[in-house]
Amino acid sequence: MQPLPQLLDEEHVFEAERPEVLILACGAIAREVLAVIELNGWTHVTVRCLPGKLHSTPAKIAPAVDAKLRELKGDYERIFVAYADCGTAGELDKVLDVHGVERLPGAHCYGFFAGNDAWQIMHDAEPATFYLTDFLARHFDSLVVKSLKLDRHPELKPLIFGNYKRLVYLAQTDNPDLVERARKAADYLGVTFEQRRTGYGELLPSLERFANA
């Protein structure tokens, strides 16, 4: 895969050779969406990513998706939204109902990567779990430490993370650098570390159903 641009803060378009359908994706899963496209050799699927940092501000997701769907209406034969509910508490579904567009299953990316049922069992076993995906392991420092100002106010760490007991890194790929970053994140939070190799989980069949329809 080509080196990817900055997906955390900016919106990006990955144009297909012969664009017919569009996946409007969260920047936090852009790599995985592009990997699925490459894996399948799809040349008709354009990907447009909203900034990955929206992961931390769920209230902004539904309005951002709505604005983008309005802008792109008519440009593609079909559109799929590669977001789960992502903390919008049904607000994203209200927007998608208006546009007649479908999204990924489940509550969040941890769920569709791990498998929503498997994630629920894992979470019920230990609710005090902090989850990382490849993207979140890669951007832990900027998305968590810096955005919560823990670098300047370390006294906030126990107030924000004091209840967590373990960190589970849901790995999409085998990347020793990301494993190390995730392990360091667990050390930083003062919690136990576990790694589970999920691959692309429910992302793969969901995108296949859309792209091959």
Binding site: D85, G87, A89, H123, A128, E155, I160
Partner: protein
């Protein structure tokens, strides 16, 4: 006001009361814990009652912080720093308030629901409720329905407050309210719910008396509903 800017040195003791209170609002906004402690002590030395210091300096300051948080001007770190500063002032005032023997507004049992370990919002609500004159029984995080029922039985509160941050855990509020209804206990207390993914529609759907969008609203709602309930009871008797 900016929590990250270099604060100019201000001699708090040299300020007249109104200016000192205004300065404390600024200091709370900027999360300056030492300055809040000092301001609290100065006002007490000047003969202010602990309730007046609490309401005029601390609660009002946090109310301003809450408004700017709601409007997207402040974010979680700044609110936590402000709350931390207020906590210091409350530490001084709490024993003094207890000594005055002032009648409590009521009692609140509050806790984050089962499966959820997030408590930043709940802790802010607890602090603002305490500031509003309530005794707050904090059950902490990850509370099953049994923990709520036990606490309600033990403390007989005026209000039950439930909090959730996750969309996967917020439906548990309905489980708790359902259990109260089943046992015929639902009307024994007011039920308030809150948390980032909730809204008024959700509050109604689960059968709560009110959804509170932030800590200041929670304190105002708690006061208003308790007073209304007492007035209704007085009329009925």
């Amino acid at each position: 006001m900016n929590a990250d800017s270099d604060a100019q040195e201000v001699d708090l003791g040299s300020l007249v009361d109104d200016d000192l209170v205004a300065q404390m609002h600024d200091d709370l906004y900027d999360g300056l814990a030492a300055e809040i402690l000092e301001g609290t002590e100065i006002l007490l030395e000047r003969g202010w009652g602990p309730d007046k210091v609490l309401n005029d300096a601390l609660v009002e300051g946090m109310r301003i912080v809450g408004i700017d948080f709601r409007d997207g001007i402040l974010f979680v770190p700044e609110v936590l720093l402000a709350a931390n500063a207020m906590k210091g002032g409350m530490g001084i005032l709490r024993p003094l308030l207890a000594e005055t023997g002032a009648e409590r507004m009521g009692t609140v049992v509050i806790g984050t629901v089962k499966g959820d370990i997030h408590d930043i919002g709940k802790n802010l609500v607890g602090m603002m409720l305490e500031g509003a004159g309530f005794e707050v029984i904090d059950l902490g995080i990850n509370n099953p329905v049994e923990a709520y029922l036990e606490a309600l039985e033990e403390h007989k509160p005026d209000i039950l407050g439930m909090s959730a941050l996750l969309t996967t855990t917020m439906p548990y509020m309905k489980v708790v309210i359902g259990a109260l209804e089943e046992k015929g206990l639902r009307n024994d207390q007011i039920v308030l719910v809150g948390g980032a993914p909730l809204n008024e529609e959700f509050g109604k759907a689960v059968g709560a008396d009110a959804y509170c969008r932030d800590a200041a609203v929670a304190a105002e709602t708690a006061q208003a509903l308790v007073l209304a309930r007492r007035a209704a009871a007085a009329t009925a008797s």
